[in-house]
């Protein structure tokens, strides 16, 4: 039997979402709520943060109290403010990196799958060998070459995930380009460009939102890891991964708060994206929610 491209089975339910009962999608909704809250935190940071995140405003390592709700770090900076500002960095890197990999990966996948031949074989080989590396190791290697900095971290995370989009889009294109409606488009005289943009592209992008939020989950974690390893952002930029690393030196001495709160934020945000991805794929994939 010929495989039905994922996208073809997805389309009708997408249109039905509006009519459906929201309570059935609590997974996606709770994920979305978490992401919206964290995003609002990032956008409104100057308004809601009680202190300047890079100023020493209290004593070193003050435990959580009424002045500093989450305590202070080793140089007396307010952890709550650093977390609030840190969300800006984490979210923008996660979004930007995912967008970079999506745009590059998806367009390469589209071209590679459609053109085929040696071009496709070569590109697929490169992508597969990239994919074979554990993503964190690849990210470390690229970040090391590029050096620290927001842009470089974003780029290195972005590059790591190109193969994910490439492989997904390419396989969808391979089955879609054999479909009868593409042949029909050729029969009415459509050029390759028109076929690619009007007949193939709209039919292969259905699973992108799922992959995008899954990818953002990883991007949050990798960004934290890079910063933790010192390959991320230069001090004193407020960043969850950096703060985690900074706080970790003091945990053996019993100062638990500098490491716990940034760590929690990383987990919560990653969880938010992960829930969203899980929930989306459940909504979008009719096979998981058959009658």
């Amino acid at each position: 039997m010929k495989r039905t491209p994922l996208s073809r089975t997805i389309i009708p339910p997408l249109r039905k979402i509006r009519r459906l009962n929201l309570s059935e999608y609590w997974i996606a909704i709770s994920g979305a709520v978490i992401i919206i809250v964290v995003s609002l935190m990032a956008i409104l940071a100057p308004l809601i943060a009680p202190y300047d995140p890079i100023e020493t405003v209290g004593d070193s390592l003050e435990p959580p109290n009424t002045r500093f709700l989450l305590g202070t770090d080793n140089i007396g900076r307010d952890i709550l403010s650093r977390i609030i500002y840190g969300s800006r960095i984490s979210l923008s890197i996660a979004f930007l990196a995912s967008i970079i990999s999506m745009i590059i990966g998806a367009s390469l996948g589209l071209l590679s799958g459609y053109i085929g031949g040696t071009f496709d074989t070569t590109l697929a080989l490169i992508m597969d060998s990239m994919y074979a590396f554990p993503s964190i190791i690849l990210a470390i290697a690229i970040a090391y070459v590029l050096g620290p900095g927001i842009l470089n971290v974003t780029i290195s995370i972005g590059i790591v995930y190109i193969p994910v989009y490439f492989r997904m889009i390419r396989s969808e294109v391979l089955s879609t380009k054999e479909s009868l409606y593409v042949e029909a488009a050729r029969a009415i005289g459509a050029s390759d460009r028109v076929i690619l943009l009007k007949y193939i592209l709209p039919n292969v992008t259905a699973s992108l939102p799922v992959v995008f939020s899954l990818n953002a989950t990883d991007a949050i974690l990798i960004e934290a890891a890079l910063s933790f390893l010192g390959l991320g952002l230069p001090a004193p930029t407020p960043d969850w991964g950096f703060d985690l690393k900074n706080g970790y030196h003091f945990i053996t001495a019993g100062y638990w708060w500098p490491v716990t709160f940034p760590g929690l934020m990383i987990i919560i945000t990653a969880l938010g994206f992960s829930l969203l991805s899980e929930g989306l794929s459940e909504i979008l994939n009719p096979r998981l929610r058959e009658v």
Partner: protein, 330 residues
Amino acid sequence: MIRMSRVIISAINLTKYFPVQRGFLERLISRKLEYIRAVDGVDLEIKEEETFALVGETGCGKTTTGRLLVRLLEPTGGDIFFRGIRITHIKGEELRKLRRHLQIIFQDPYASLNPRMKIGDAIGHPLEIHDIAKGREKRQIVLEMLEKVGLTPAERYYELYPHQLSGGERQRVVISRAMILKPDFIVADEPISMIDVSLRAKILELMVDLKKEFHVTYLFITHDLATAKYISDRIAVMYLGKIVELATTDELFSNPLHPYVKALISAIPRPGPKAERERLLLRGEIPSPINPPSGCRLHPRCPFKIRICSKEEPKLLEKERGHYVACHLY
């Protein structure tokens, strides 16, 4: 019809071989490439404004022939002429322009529509591609077409997506899309076989009506002789990549010559009292087109075979005026 009609499309010794897909191991073991001889030397001439039916069983090459004629497949050998111009190997922009005159309707109306394109846009797209009309002008032409094929109210159908339509409605959309360019020649590849029984007649009638209006020529591909009898002026029957008999519809049914054609006709289920009628049943099934039998391809199944049948391939010869048959018996 007495007047001599002009030939609109013709094929001379047309062939199409597909290489057999093989596994990695098989490729290591043997170097010889094998081919599926889907179409193996087909000659035909289709006249202006006739409905020409191509009939045969699964795997006889009828669909491949149809796709070759509208240049969706590259022929392996032979020639195709459209209004006397050789179009066998034209490419690129020239081919794109030619598509305006040659159209195809596929068997599966759902699969031949882009699920993400509105009905109106799908039908109107050919107009845009060939720079015939855009915007409101395009919309107007499409709405008229929708009316013509009975998808009313047209304004509503314009905005629907394929999955919101029934099978019969989808096939009307596909027919509209093929017709909107006012082509000269349309290949209709089993256009009713996936449609609900009660709606088939409607589609056939629609095709006949549109033909009268647009003066189009059909190549009607079907496995069902009864449908071919209903719609066509002339019929060619294919077996294993070759035409075995070609005649006007009335002649073919009143005086079938080729044993295969006789078998096909006698195999058609006939309602009514179960009168004891002699069926000419062929033994077995169609052999593989990879290594077709030598000589006449029917000979291993033919009850009338003579010695020459396994040795020499019969040519398609004119037995009576306009009645061609490829069989050593004649």
